[in-house]
């Protein structure tokens, strides 16, 4: 790890899908422990940026480094093992598995028990399973999901599914957590609770958070720094105050809408 440097750096990253430039020349640094927001109108390339960081796509140009390691071309599971996990905008839980299993699946990458241990049920396997289940239960407890531990993920109410996605991502013991619209579809009260929870989680787990969010109230309220994307281009970066006042941002994205949002959300 490079001490003092950014935990995540995007350096002139470009992503082309055929003729379409989903991301062009995107650069930003995220400092360790920071809560960094990524905003922009629909189709601005936010989720594409997440997919690039987590290795779902390899960037056409540019480099992405995490703790000094180049992530380009690594497969997503390698990147997860390196310490970057994520949630998904369109919930992607392991629907047929229980909540506890969902969390344990993400803990799999830290499991030391091999295939032979599992088939032969060695003591090491038993220890490892118990540790995973204990840690999984602790995480479910933290996210307020312990009562649902043995419920299949698909049977969970929507809000709880969102929380389970976060619990699952945390079970991977990340140092950088990417949250893709974690508050989508939640009511203002739920999204407030969730954001407070995320802040305490960030402190307790010494996490760096990268957040995509549509709810301006949420983004402005908790992010320390924000980058704004529009048509795949970064048009602004700064503190919430700076973003709020930036004329380019207002023109591209916020405009009257944020006024309305701020008015109705309070």
């Amino acid at each position: 790890m490079t001490t003092g440097g950014p935990i995540l750096r995007l350096d002139r990253v470009t992503m082309r899908f055929g003729g379409l430039k989903a991301i062009s020349d995107l650069s930003f640094d995220v400092a360790p422990g920071e809560l960094f927001g990524l905003i922009g109108p629909n189709g601005a390339g936010k989720t594409t940026a997440f997919n690039l960081i987590t290795g779902v796509y390899a960037p056409t140009q540019g480099t992405i480094t995490f703790e000094g390691t180049r992530l380009n071309g690594l497969r997503p599971s390698r990147i997860a093992r390196a310490g970057v996990t994520r949630t998904f905008q369109n919930i992607r839980l392991f629907a047929s598995r229980t909540c506890l299993d969902n969390v344990c699946i993400a803990a799999h990458m830290h499991s030391g028990a091999g295939l032979a241990d599992a088939v032969l049920r060695t003591p090491r396997f038993a220890r490892d399973e118990k540790r995973m289940r204990d840690e999984g239960r602790a995480l479910l407890d933290l996210m307020g999901l312990l009562a649902w531990a043995d419920t299949r993920a698909v049977d969970l109410p929507y809000g709880q599914q969102r929380r389970l996605e976060i619990a699952r991502a945390l079970a991977g013991k990340p140092r950088l957590l990417l949250l893709d619209e974690p508050a989508a579809g939640l009511n203002p009260q739920e999204s407030d609770d969730l954001m407070h929870l995320m802040q305490s989680v960030r402190r307790d787990f010494k996490l760096t958070l990268l957040l995509i969010e549509h709810d301006m109230r949420v983004v402005m309220g908790i992010c320390e720094r924000i980058a704004v994307l529009d048509y795949g281009i970064k048009i602004a970066e700064g503190t919430p105050e700076e973003i709020r006042r930036n004329p380019k941002v207002i023109e591209a994205y916020l405009g009257e809408e944020v006024e309305a949002d701020l008015g109705s959300g309070a």
Binding site: S77, R92, R97, I105, A149
Partner: protein
């Protein structure tokens, strides 16, 4: 220690059953029992690929054929000499034939497993229908090659394979594949397989090496298909490439789907039901397969998730799930 005791106890029970069944039931029923066992191994092993991991493979007959011919060629060459040598050394028949059979089954399994690895590789890129077509092609290629290779009897088939398969060895195969599947299912590796089935993108993003596990499922699944093929070869003493047509693969798929994708006990029971059913229906003669097909249709309409869905058969008196009882 408990594990070792369990294995010894299981082997003793199987040996006892072997002794009893050979004497107690008529040869026709016995043959159905043996075919049930072989089909259970096939269904449970395919369930590892199609049920656990959600890869749609329709080439299971190909793996079975490789195991059958691989083990048969061993027995016709080296294995037969071993058996003769062991018998000459004064060992009782079950041991004199059991040792070479065990080696033949492992060889058959390994031949199939290597093929499973090679077929698993394209599965890194393909999924769903596309993978199904690849495995279909693979199964057909195996069959056509066997039909044309003089060394293994070509289209005439391969006669004279020693009939070493006993109830005991079929039982070992069944218990082996079922125990392995259940232990796998209730482990972090099994969870990784299920995660791939439910959502491959999410599994990969959360650190599951989806490529490795997909190939692993293919390798283990095809190993046991090979073992089943080996048991089959040494039971009938004669192999014909036409046994391993596409329809055989479909038969195994029907068992897995009917049992419930991912459910080990479902695969076991469905394999037994679908093996016994055509025999039970023998009295209705030419309408046999019509009724068989109709029953499949009705079963799938009434229970689209399979007999067992995702669940496993449990003892009713056992605690259902941790936390439900205080």
């Amino acid at each position: 220690m408990r594990g070792a005791l369990g294995i010894v106890a299981t082997l003793l029970v199987l040996a006892g059953l072997d002794f009893a069944l050979n004497r107690a039931i008529n040869p026709y029923i016995f043959q159905i029992v043996m075919l049930c066992g072989i089909n259970v191994i096939l269904a449970v092993s395919l369930n590892l690929i199609n049920g656990f991991t959600g890869q749609f493979s329709i080439g299971h007959a190909g793996f079975m054929a490789l195991g059958a011919y691989g083990s048969a060629m061993f027995s016709l060459g080296i294995g037969g000499k071993w058996a003769a040598g062991l018998a000459a050394a004064g060992l009782p028949a079950p041991i004199a034939t059991g040792v070479p059979l065990a080696v033949a089954l492992v060889i058959g399994g390994l031949v199939a497993a290597i093929a499973g690895y090679l077929v698993g590789l394209p599965s890194l890129r393909l999924r769903g229908d596309y993978l199904a077509i690849v495995t279909l092609g693979f199964g057909e290629i195996i069959r056509v090659i066997i039909t044309n290779v003089e060394w293994v009897g070509a289209s005439r088939g391969l006669p004279g394979i020693p009939g070493w398969t006993s109830f005991f060895w079929v039982g070992v195969g069944v218990v082996g594949v079922v125990a392995l599947s259940l232990n796998l299912a209730n482990s972090t590796h099994g969870r990784a397989l299920f995660a791939i089935r439910d959502d491959e993108v999410a599994a990969e993003a959360l650190g599951v090496n989806t490529t490795g596990y997909k190939v692993l499922a293919f390798v283990i699944g095809s190993f046991f298909a090979g073992v089943a093929g080996g048991l089959f070869a040494h039971y009938l003493s004669y192999l014909n490439p036409n046994t391993f047509v596409f329809l055989k693969s479909i038969e195994v798929i029907a068992m897995v789907v009917l049992g419930g994708l991912g459910s080990v006990s479902g695969s076991v029971i469905a394999a037994i039901v679908l093996t016994v059913l055509p025999e039970v229906l023998r009295p209705v003669k030419e309408y046999r397969m019509v009724i068989y097909s109709l029953m499949l249709i009705v079963l799938m309409i009434t229970r689209p998730q399979g007999l067992f869905g995702y669940r496993e058969l449990r003892w009713p008196f056992r605690k259902a799930a941790p936390g439900t009882r205080t």
